[in-house]
């Protein structure tokens, strides 16, 4: 890597500059599917973050042991192990979240963000950096999900943080006096309004997604500034890319191209 790495930088790049959802456009499927409510978004984000940090640590530890030809199956096994653990924990302690997320919880195994970070970052960097990268990406993922969830839930269902007690059950019964989110529906109907249903449907999800992506691009690049380079480390195809062969790519994994 040309520029010097710092832990702070590795963490903050996941928030906006290389936000996995809004800038790298990874993990789109769970993003669109679970962001119908903020509660689900938080649950999904936290679960994925835990898996991401753990798998990044283990894959970084094993990066010299795993032969490059079978690295994808090896990564999947590691990721699947952590997903299974997380799924069992969720089933045991937050059963409502398990029902709400349904198939998307086990599908974290094939979440592009986790496999992408394993392939692009953890397999080339030390354990501490990989853990911080995983945490930053996870927080960025969760933040993006929460933003989408907030817009979609308020506009589409007229609620905010509905069913939050399903998550708070982790910390005991009736935390915050059993506060279970806001419901604007009654207030809305008294003034003759109603939620705009399209926002909790997939089509509305895409609209919100596109607008948030545009906003993130604006913040990351600004007007007049040169376009920010995402760099090969953030590219999930880096191992197979032609750029690698011409050695134009930073952080080239020579074994991968051999």
């Amino acid at each position: 890597m040309a520029e010097k790495k710092s832990l702070g930088k590795e963490f903050t790049k996941g928030l906006i500059k290389e936000n996995p959802v809004l800038r790298l456009v990874l993990g789109t499927c769970p993003t669109l599917a679970v962001t119908t409510s903020v509660t689900n978004a938080i649950g999904m984000g936290v679960a994925a973050t835990i898996v991401l940090v753990c798998s990044n640590i283990v894959i970084s530890l094993l990066r010299k042991v795993i032969p490059s030809k079978v690295r994808i199956p090896a990564y999947i096994v590691v990721i699947a192990a952590f997903v299974t653990i997380v799924q069992m924990l969720v089933k045991a302690f937050v059963p409502a979240l398990d029902t709400a997320l349904g198939a998307f919880l086990p599908l974290i195994v094939v979440n592009c963000i986790i496999l992408g970070r394993a392939e692009a970052f953890a397999s080339k960097n030390t354990v501490l950096y990989s853990a911080v990268d995983g945490l930053g990406m996870g927080v960025g993922f969760t933040a993006a999900l929460c933003m989408m969830g907030t817009v979609r839930e308020i506009l589409g269902a007229g609620t905010f943080l509905a069913g939050i007690q399903d998550l708070l059950v982790l910390f005991g019964d009736n935390v915050f006096g059993g506060w279970n989110g806001l419901d604007f529906n009654n207030a809305l109907s008294t003034i003759g309004l109603q939620p705009i249903t399209i926002f909790i449907l997939p089509a509305g999800g895409f609209f919100v997604f596109g607008i948030l992506m545009a906003t993130a691009n604006r913040i990351a690049e600004g007007r007049g500034k040169p376009k920010a380079e995402l760099g090969c480390t953030s590219c999930p195809m880096a191992g197979h890319c032609n750029k690698n062969k011409d050695e134009k790519c930073e952080g080239t994994d020579k074994e991968a191209t051999a």
Partner: protein, 330 residues
């Protein structure tokens, strides 16, 4: 002696301008607006006004925020507002009109670069968004001329003829064909009066704003398919053609410049596609009406239609030969 002016081509310019064309479209929509006031009362004027004003306002604000030059002078926002209003039932809450107008202008039009860049017809985009979001309010049809009889106190709900229309069935519960033609039926406020819409269409064709290819092929395709589906039931075919939003869709929405093909061949493919999708949705799908969906689907396919119907410049070789030559050379 006259001074010679040296300038780059084009030297001959068409007198047609965007505001001029849009003004023609607005004039062509006026008969339908008058008909809607007669049929559904003065609230239809209010709905139209709200849509037009919020379209203009959102176009102005969106352009201002994006720091682009202002385009409300080209009148296209007024056309979008009128068309959107004509696709709404008269009883629609006014705030929903505002939401739909903002969506049509900001999301469908301005996010993609403004006039000429919109990927689908803005009015149809707004209508479909409203139909998905506010299903019950969007299908609450008011019986025609009731405002007149009851003094405008109570609006009576009714079904659109499309909902109860089946081939070779009993048409006695439906309005007569003459009523259908004059628009005395339940429906969106601007779509019902076939007479007014056809008048507007003839005006547009006479002013050379639109070519008659798209409307004729669109309506013709629906008519032929319905004739086959109804096993030659002529009355059924006429009901299908006159009901729903087929006429307003075919004459005013499918002919939008930005979202329809340029060549005549392309226009025919586009219009026949619209007709087929409309008929399939009407005959087989759960939805009673498919005009807006058919136009939006074909709008999205327009770039592909354009690429397969690209005209060959005079004297140019056929593309296949060129490809073969290129392959041989490489």
């Amino acid at each position: 002696m006259k001074k010679l002016t040296v300038s780059a081509s084009p030297h001959v310019r068409s007198p047609k301008t965007v505001p001029g064309i849009m003004l023609d479209v607005i004039i062509a929509l006026v008969p339908a607006l008058i008909a809607s006031v007669v049929l559904f009362g003065f609230r239809s004027l209010l709905v139209t006004a709200v849509c037009v004003v919020s379209c203009i306002a959102s176009e102005y604000i969106a352009r201002k925020i994006m720091k682009r030059d202002n385009t409300i002078g080209d009148l296209s926002a007024i056309v979008t507002g009128m068309l959107l209003a004509f696709n709404l039932p008269v009883s629609i809450p006014l705030w929903m009109c505002v939401v739909g107008s903002v969506f049509a202008i900001v999301v469908v039009k301005q996010f993609f670069g403004g006039i000429g860049q919109n990927f689908v017809n803005p009015a149809i985009g707004g209508r479909i968004m409203m139909l998905v979001s506010f299903a019950s309010a969007m299908t609450d049809w008011t019986a025609p001329l009731e405002w007149f009889k009851n003094g405008g106190i109570d609006a009576m709900s009714t079904a659109t003829p499309l909902a109860s229309l089946t081939a070779n069935g009993d048409y006695s519960s439906l309005p007569s064909l003459l009523d259908m033609f004059l628009g005395v039926r339940g429906g969106c406020l601007g779509e019902t009066c076939a007479l007014a819409l056809i008048l507007g269409g003839i005006y547009l064709v006479a002013r050379r704003v639109i070519k008659p290819v798209i409307p004729l092929c669109f309506i013709g395709t629906v008519a032929v398919i319905m004739l086959i589906a109804g096993k030659g039931d002529f009355e059924f075919m006429l009901y299908e053609v006159l009901s729903g939003g087929l006429l307003i869709g075919a004459i005013f929405m499918a002919t939008d410049y930005a979202t329809s093909p340029l060549t005549t061949k392309g226009k025919i493919i586009f219009a026949v596609g619209c007709g087929v999708i409309t008929s399939v949705i009407r005959l087989f799908a759960n939805l009673p009406e498919g005009v807006s969906y058919s136009i939006i689907i074909m709008n999205i396919l327009v770039p592909h239609i354009e690429s397969i119907t690209r005209p060959r410049p005079f004297g140019a070789e056929k593309e296949k030969k060129e490809k073969k030559k290129e392959e041989a050379a490489s």
